[in-house]
């Protein structure tokens, strides 16, 4: 059985994907979140997923536990559910920039050999065309990795990588769908400008990218060669490509992947320094934090140190 700490976009997408793939029945999935107003919560409920506001309940009823919250929340979650983590649990963190070692360090105060896997996936898991990589932690066995791989392969492409590549993957396929949506929006604008109705333009644009991606994945040929195959001499396509080149299209994409990767590392670095800006935490959670940990102070320097609150557990 699978549990999701967090019931936002990622949990929803994965739950939807797993159930559609038939690898997991909805009732074997539990998801939890303190915020019941999220639109994804009702979506999960409709799917037949067990929804609860108790993260501890999720942990208790899962073997594979996905941490599907935003990166700044991870330390809070680990603090909260750490005591309930047992040897059987496989903790899968999907949080960008959060290292295996930071999770293991946090959990080891509760459990001597926590099985941790770090994973980077993307939203198209929802339509079972996700791109996922994972890296296994110190105590995760080969079978644990394979189990995760089986799950994630049911919703798209999944492969194991060295952890140090995960930030680059974030920049490329993690953020990638956003680049594609931007491109599609603009392509549709182009279609509309030249006279197409918007809906048709969107449909055709999306199909063109889908088809091109499929051709590339199924072909042995280099994308440059596939591009050439479309460009008849003096024709429409080569004229259009010249515009793209003039605009530095390629370099913009390279810049984007680089920026996303670098930002991921920055955020990780901030997290490692155990400093977090309050703006990164939703207000409700921040209030909860203040309530439960009065020794935690939101410094006027606008940085919160997460671990000044020493846990009394051993």
């Amino acid at each position: 059985s699978v549990g999701f700490i967090g019931a936002g976009q990622l949990a929803f997408a994965l739950a939807r994907g797993f159930t559609a793939a038939g690898v997991l029945a909805a009732h074997k999935i539990t998801a939890s979140s303190p915020d019941t107003d999220l639109p994804t919560v009702s979506g999960l409920r409709k799917m037949g997923v067990n929804f609860t506001v108790s993260n501890k309940d999720t942990v208790k009823s899962s073997d594979v536990l996905f941490l599907a919250v935003k990166p700044p929340i991870i330390p809070f979650i680990l603090e909260e559910v750490g005591p309930d983590i047992e040897a059987r649990h496989i903790v899968v963190s999907c949080a960008a920039g959060v290292t295996i070692s930071s999770i293991e360090k946090k959990l080891s105060t509760f459990c001597p050999t926590p099985k941790v896997i770090r994973c980077m996936t993307n939203t198209p898991v929802i339509v079972r065309e996700g791109a996922t990589v994972y890296a296994t932690g110190t105590h995760a066995d080969v079978e644990d990795g394979k189990l995760l791989e089986q799950l994630m392969a049911s919703v798209g492409f999944c492969t194991e990588v060295e952890e140090d590549l995960i930030d680059a993957v974030t920049g490329l396929s993690g953020s990638g769908p956003a680049y594609a949506f931007t491109a599609l929006d603009a392509l549709a604008d182009g279609g509309v400008k030249m006279g197409l109705p918007r809906r048709l333009a969107v449909r055709l644009g999306a199909q063109a990218l889908l088809g091109a991606a499929k051709m590339l994945l199924e072909s042995e040929q280099h994308p440059g060669q596939l591009k050439d195959n479309v460009c008849s001499p003096g024709g429409a396509t080569i004229h259009a490509l010249h515009f793209l080149e003039s605009g530095g299209f390629r370099s913009l994409l390279i810049n984007a992947v680089e920026a996303s990767c670098i930002r991921t590392r920055e955020l990780q670095h901030l997290a490692d320094q155990e400093k977090i800006s309050p703006a990164a935490i939703k207000k409700t959670l921040l209030d909860k934090v203040k309530l439960e940990s009065p020794s935690l102070s939101v410094a006027s320097a606008s940085k919160v140190s997460l671990f000044t609150n020493k846990s009394k557990k051993n």
Partner: protein, 278 residues
């Protein structure tokens, strides 16, 4: 009198050059290299001896009389400057016969113009070489006029392949060839210079940097030609993840190098078209 029989065997071919400048010199060196035409069968004309000395050194015959070239040759290369050509054609026209094969190297002069200024049954071909013909690494394209047949095309191709790549094309490609390869050679020189300058900036002596730059271009081009692989693939093969090459390529992409090069080819091609109209 009767016209001489057309000679199609290279060994009995009498080859003439009207104009003996650099381009013609490059082609003749290629011909001689190929060993298909003896130097003594080659006759070149030019107004002054300035260029002709080099031809004599190769063993060719020389003259100052264009008509003599036409009288004594079957295959006649026209290699004058564009503004000279009309006058030269008027001069040699009476001597041009059906056995002649006239090949024009003259930039911007169309087959239509050539055929208009020569007798109506003349076998005319037009060729656009590029500078590295002089070192037998040229890129040439040629087109046929209305009376030039497969035999003439085959002869030209077999003679000139010794100078480099020689392909028959529709005449409309000739201006594009100018933009790509005729002028293209200059783009490469510019790139080579810039490469070397980058190296000098980083501390390498200029002469060494220049030689290495040239060898880099040569080697890369050789790999392209010999492997037949797509340049994008070869580029990818050099790019180790997170390595030096991909960092450098990013800089080139930021500078929109690709688009700039496309612009250059387009500008030169358009200019060639415009000049041909003049």
């Amino acid at each position: 009198g009767a016209w001489p029989r057309a000679a199609m065997e290279a060994s009995e071919l009498w080859v003439g050059f009207v104009g003996a400048g650099r381009m013609a010199g490059g082609l003749v060196r290629g011909l001689l290299q190929a060993g298909k035409v003896p130097a003594s069968n080659i006759l070149a004309s030019a107004p002054s001896d300035k260029n002709l000395d080099a031809w004599r050194e190769l063993g060719c015959r020389t003259t100052h009389c264009n008509l003599e070239v036409v009288h004594r040759s079957t295959l006649v290369f026209l290699a004058t400057k564009p503004h000279i050509l009309p006058g030269v054609l008027e001069e040699i026209r009476p001597a041009v016969g059906p056995h002649h094969i006239v090949v024009s190297l003259v930039a911007g002069v169309t087959i239509q113009t050539l055929q208009r200024l020569l007798p109506p049954w003349t076998k005319v071909l037009r060729i656009m070489p590029n500078l590295p013909c002089v070192v037998q690494a040229g890129a040439m394209v040629f087109s046929r006029g209305s009376n030039a047949g497969d035999e003439e095309a085959a002869l030209l191709k077999s003679l000139l392949s010794s100078c480099g790549l020689c392909e028959e094309v529709p005449e409309s490609y000739i201006d594009i060839h100018t933009g790509l390869s005729g002028s293209g050679v200059a783009y490469v020189y510019l790139f080579a210079e810039a490469l070397a300058e980058g190296a000098v900036k980083m501390g390498m002596p200029g002469a060494l940097a220049s030689r290495i730059a040239a060898q880099t271009l040569l080697g890369a081009a050789k790999m392209l030609l010999e492997t037949g692989e797509h340049p994008a693939k070869l580029r990818g093969d050099v790019c180790t993840p997170g390595g030096t090459t991909i960092y450098a390529l990013h800089q080139l992409e930021k500078g929109a190098l690709r688009a700039t090069v496309m612009n250059a080819v387009e500008a030169a091609t358009n200019r060639a078209c415009d000049m041909a109209k003049d």
